[in-house]
Symmetry: C2
Subunit: 406 residues, 2 copies
Amino acid sequence: MGLVVQKYGGTSVANVELIKNVARRIISTKEKGNQVVAVVSAMGDTTDELVQLTRQITPKPEPREMDLLLSTGEIISCTLLSMALRAAGHEAVSLSGAQAGIQTDAAHTDARIVAMNPGRIWRELQGGRIVVVAGFQGVTESMDITTLGRGGSDTTAVALAAALCADRCERYTDVDGVYTADPRVCPEARKLKDISFEEMMELAVQGAKIMHPRAVEMGALHNIPIVVASSFNDAPGTLIHNEVTMELQSKIRGISHDTDVAKITIIGVPDRPGIAAGIFEPLAEKRVSVDTIVQNASANKMTDLTFTVARKDLDKAMDVIKPLVKSIGAKQCVADSTLGKVSIVGTGMQTAPGYAAKMFRTLSDKGINIELITTSEIRITCIVSEKQVVEAVQALHQAFRLERVA
Amino acid sequence: MGLVVQKYGGTSVANVELIKNVARRIISTKEKGNQVVAVVSAMGDTTDELVQLTRQITPKPEPREMDLLLSTGEIISCTLLSMALRAAGHEAVSLSGAQAGIQTDAAHTDARIVAMNPGRIWRELQGGRIVVVAGFQGVTESMDITTLGRGGSDTTAVALAAALCADRCERYTDVDGVYTADPRVCPEARKLKDISFEEMMELAVQGAKIMHPRAVEMGALHNIPIVVASSFNDAPGTLIHNEVTMELQSKIRGISHDTDVAKITIIGVPDRPGIAAGIFEPLAEKRVSVDTIVQNASANKMTDLTFTVARKDLDKAMDVIKPLVKSIGAKQCVADSTLGKVSIVGTGMQTAPGYAAKMFRTLSDKGINIELITTSEIRITCIVSEKQVVEAVQALHQAFRLERVA
């Protein structure tokens, strides 16, 4: 009994049969006495197809126009789902992001939610209806349609759960939970019963394609428990929440990896205040998302600065960096796009110093060279050659015995 | 120089190349010093494809959901057109019906415009931008998306032209003007330079698929000159307006035909007040659009009542009529779905009595039996066998010498 927000990803609503399947799942939740708000992504490849159309017209579509165009994808899936619910005998109504009261700033293609006005949703729920909301989209104060960028539909769902004070948010895709490592890479990987927001955030940021970190962050902020599960079966998923069972503390919870890493190193950077800002501000202006940043200790007032970006952004980043090298008085810059990264994540890592050593030893025993190391309180990340990423994940999974239930 | 509203139909924006072609046409109008508001229909078969999707889910989609779904078709074409204009170096912005301020009643799938709030369009025009509006759609007071039903995009264009006090409305499709008869049926048909609103309305109602009568009516009401032309060439189109050149008065202007006619006759209807209302009210409730109605002179307090409907509505109409036959005390009802109609249209027909006689004689000479006759001030319509419609059009075109410029 309660108010449940369910989010269904693009693969879960990829065709009419799957939409009917999702309708059955929603009805089953409703029939247990819950009020249900469902958030849907666009059907399968709809968004890609729309992007393809724009490519035939212009290499640089105007972001505002792009948003209005792409918003149609989620409207199509949400109206079809609402029809499927009605065809199965349940009152339902579909709402666009604007109708659902999701107000955003005007940063088109990557808008942030600034206010939630869920009055219409409340009225529909009071009327006994299932509410289906188009994910990924909102509306500005001046009535322009925006999209929320990567992880947008996840963010819609968690934001709605927060605004509606929902009892929980359930997030369905074709992946049935959070694993200790990617099961496609590491067959011994085990599904976790639960995981903390912080651990999930580190896993998500570090490349586990389960749920966007932005949505996890919002869940943490508003303390909305999120269940990650599959819409294709009834296996229990993974609960992302605040309280993690005591006996699981101080353990490595999972290994994430990412093979989409490019590294840029600026060699011989003069070590004076303002240099880093002078490098990363122009990158931010060009909307290049910088991941790991490492600056080596300075010797002779000179330092080397290394950072990583997604591969698709490498050319754009180099276009920014190359002219900067001269102007800041650095020696040169070099790029490497053949890298990947592997991270171990777990709460309490910092108070148990053996983890880092064990990670480095494990990689070394396999002959894997570590290019870069960065750490957070609950994560250690190594940048290694892309070719050795899979081997690294498998070795670490075995070394930390993640196949065992703690 | 002025403010021009241009409307492009689905065939004119059916693919990316055609959208670019439309962009060039708009730019050429703009470069002559005009402000341009373009209204677009959905690309080619988009709407049909969306309807197909709903068919796989439910035979009776909820009209509100249907409207929200179908509204995406025009949004896709209008954003792509706006991108094409920008790619060609012109500032442009696309607006949904809601953003364009087209407010309607809540009669989903067949909404009527109740108010136009073109503030946003004005601001965009002031900013020097070309405005592209999604046709066929509006929004209710409670922010629900509606569609305008048949002829919806034409209606959007003429309503915008009226609200913006535009100098003219140009309506582009794959047909390059109004002809004296359908050129596919009558090769001698001649394109008209201009035609009055009233004549166009009669032609449109009677089956010329050029422009929806609803939009023509709105043009007449607000005195908005409408140019009907092709987006595939630069041939001059036909101007629909109030003033028709004097020497063209008192002439047959065109012949329209329609092969989508079904006839229902109720035989032996008691001739007392309220009977007609008792028949046509239930039909209206089922949204059956009745075209021609003819009631024969009453003899012995009994009369025969005949009316025509579109063939797709015949079953629905018979479902309504059959139970009524008994309850009103009529004898029986019979249906015929093998009919078509042919009309001659022209101002001043009433004051020149020879036209009707000439029409009937022409048909008779060809051995074409007339099932029903109806007339208006500027039109004479004969219902004949569907098989003889083409022959009737050709014979009448020749008899009235419409191939000659008056």
